[in-house]
Symmetry: C2
């Protein structure tokens, strides 16, 4: 490592929302440099939702910066929790996954994370390797390191307890399991969004309790999704996946709300802060946000695709959307994954009064009166994609949300 | 089994404070009779305090009644919890025991419980046999059967949580472990004191949750100890152990406060309710409680000792205490187990002004002015027993509490 501790600290802290603590981080960097060893940087991933999106990429790109400084990423696939799921069966988001599903999702993860991370400086580990071996006695000893009051402090538990929404006792273990991962892999640092502070700081505490050096904790800002309000997440359908093809990625970036343009520049690109300042001023002075977004879409797409594919995506976007007179603000139609052919949604369109009847829609399509992303269509077997725009008749537009 | 279900129910319910539920109990009795099998009656014992006293015997004697009706006792030695102890190390009462200690205590238990139970209709099991084999995943599934709010309902947890006294997360598992014991052994019924309702009813709930027939729960009244206030317990030193020799047992029964005489007749003897009624009236009409207690001491001692030894104990008591003019109400001196020789407590006696100075006490003893249980003593190496009475000088009495 040739970069000084001070310079590393400066680079790492860029864009970070919170660090616990600056002293720990500096000490870790200094100790690692003296010992000539890389820091072990932990990132935990939930195998139940294997799509990595730009929200995750905020953290992944910060880790990549640190890899470029010589450090090592330790990716923990939470397969132990994934295999257990939520045994109460109450939460849809936490169904138990089979070993095969977890393995498959883990592979999917890896093809995606290595679009950002440096494969040679990354270890991928499964936490069932250590959690799966613990017996009841060891679990009790782990539980004894914390108190009921401490775990109830976590915002979501606190709110549920106050509002008398049941909390399964097993749920109290999820933060402890994540914390124990830090112990098992000797993490020097853990990264996460600012919504992960409780679990990550618990890792720090547990390391201390068990006589280990506590990890530094780095919290990145949360990136809102295309709705401009909620955290980007697959389940909300407001995400841009790092694995999406270039045209889809380009088109989605163009859907980012104007209010988030600068935040996306800051968190989803490597654009220099000085340049972001210039863009901020341009927007304040009345520059068309659409033009700024074209630059954003170009930059983000090129992070995950070749220059040629990025250019093609832009051309496609221009041809399909920009020049076909599709308005910016159009209503959305939420459809189910299982019923996503054009034929499947005709009843929905009729119900929502886009068309007078199902047969009316088919007649209109036969006459060239139905357009898909600016092109006439009669292909009722077409599988609709998220973001597809239908034009029905002369003026009625609807955007598909899956 | 020749006793009808109705008659069994009547016998079992005698002296019971609470049953959950009468219907379950009747159903269990009826099913068992139809199937020609005995009910499996569970009793859990904590191996950290192997002294069985008359408080435990209330429950044991109820189980013995049921054994006499043909049913089977399943004694669970909680060695799993005992070996774990309280990993937080905060509670003195819950230090981890070695495997050898647990085994030793379990043997001690057995010699004691078979003074009440019928050995041929008793199984003794160790819960490490099933709890020790559970892995983390199984623990999580067990935890998922209940909620944080449910466990926090338990009085002691509720109070500690409200008063911000830390509750280790592992402590939440103790009720669950006990509940799981009922599942593991297919308990038809569980007995305990009325302070055990939470844990025992949790066993019932867990059986239901896991698709088993829920056990009936029988709660016996709590027997107060010799102090007349607190539940009888070894740690409070207010107990009469079933393993104590006859003279000691006799003497202790004589120390039972007058206000508890009838309760001891009801809970610690097999005396018929009609006879207890007569005693109640005698006392109301001014009969000397000391004479009634002599009857009580005779009856209780003879439950655990031969007729001859009981008689000897009474003679010894009469010789040593009754005729030596030791008053009924005398102050107590609490001493530590580690410093229990007569020599050890001289400074305490001086401090409490029983004697003017340590040397004054020794002088007094040399002159025959110190009596132990009515006999002069100069033996400073004598190890004081709980209940020993010292007379210092002419009028000062003190009873030793260990």
């Amino acid at each position: 490592m040739t970069v000084s501790v001070e310079e590393q600290f400066r680079i790492i802290m860029k864009g970070v929302e919170q660090v616990v603590s600056e002293e720990t981080l500096k000490q870790k960097l200094s100790d690692a440099q003296k010992a000539g060893r890389p820091l072990r940087i932990k990132l935990g991933l939930d195998p139940s939702a294997p799509d990595i999106h730009l929200g995750h990429a905020v953290v992944l790109r910060k880790i990549r910066q640190m890899q470029d400084l010589g450090h090592r990423a330790i990716i923990i696939i939470g397969d132990f929790t994934g295999q257990i799921g939520d045994p109460s069966g109450k939460s849809k988001g936490r169904n138990a996954l089979s070993k095969e599903q977890v393995q498959e999702n883990a592979l999917t993860y890896q093809t995606q994370i290595f679009k950002v991370l440096d494969r040679d400086k990354t270890e991928v580990l499964f936490n069932s390797a250590w959690l799966g071996k613990m017996n009841f006695e060891e679990v009790i000893r782990l539980a004894a390191t914390t108190t009921v009051a401490r775990i109830l402090e976590r915002d979501d538990f606190q709110n549920r307890y106050k509002n008398e929404v049941p909390i399964g006792l097993h749920e109290f273990f999820y933060p402890l399991m994540q914390a124990y991962d830090s112990v098992a892999i000797d993490a020097d640092m853990e990264l996460g969004g600012t919504d992960q502070t409780f679990n990550i700081l618990m890792g720090r505490t547990l390391q201390k309790t068990l006589g280990k050096e506590p990890q530094a904790a780095l919290f990145m800002p949360i990136l809102e999704g295309l709705d401009g309000v909620e955290k980007m997440s697959k389940s909300l359908g407001n995400y841009i996946g790092v694995d999406e093809d270039a045209p889809s990625m380009f088109k989605k970036v163009m859907e980012v709300p104007d209010s988030l343009i600068l935040k996306y520049f800051e968190l989803a690109t490597d654009v220099h802060p000085d340049r972001v300042e210039v863009i901020r001023r341009d927007l304040e002075q009345g520059k068309n946000p659409r033009d700024v977004k074209l630059e954003l879409a170009r930059i983000i797409t090129s992070l995950y695709h070749t220059a040629e594919n990025t250019r093609k995506a832009e051309d496609y976007y221009a041809a399909a959307f920009q020049e076909k007179g599709i308005p910016q603000e159009i209503p959305e139609l939420i459809i189910e994954e299982e019923k996503d052919r054009l034929a499947d949604i005709i009843p929905l369109l009729t119900k929502a009064k886009y068309t007078a009847s199902n047969s009316e829609f088919r007649r209109l399509a036969a006459q060239g009166g139905v357009q898909l992303n600016g092109e006439k269509t009669e292909d009722f077997d077409y599988v609709l994609a998220n973001g597809d725009v239908l034009k029905i008749g002369k003026k009625r537009f609807v955007r598909i949300v899956k």
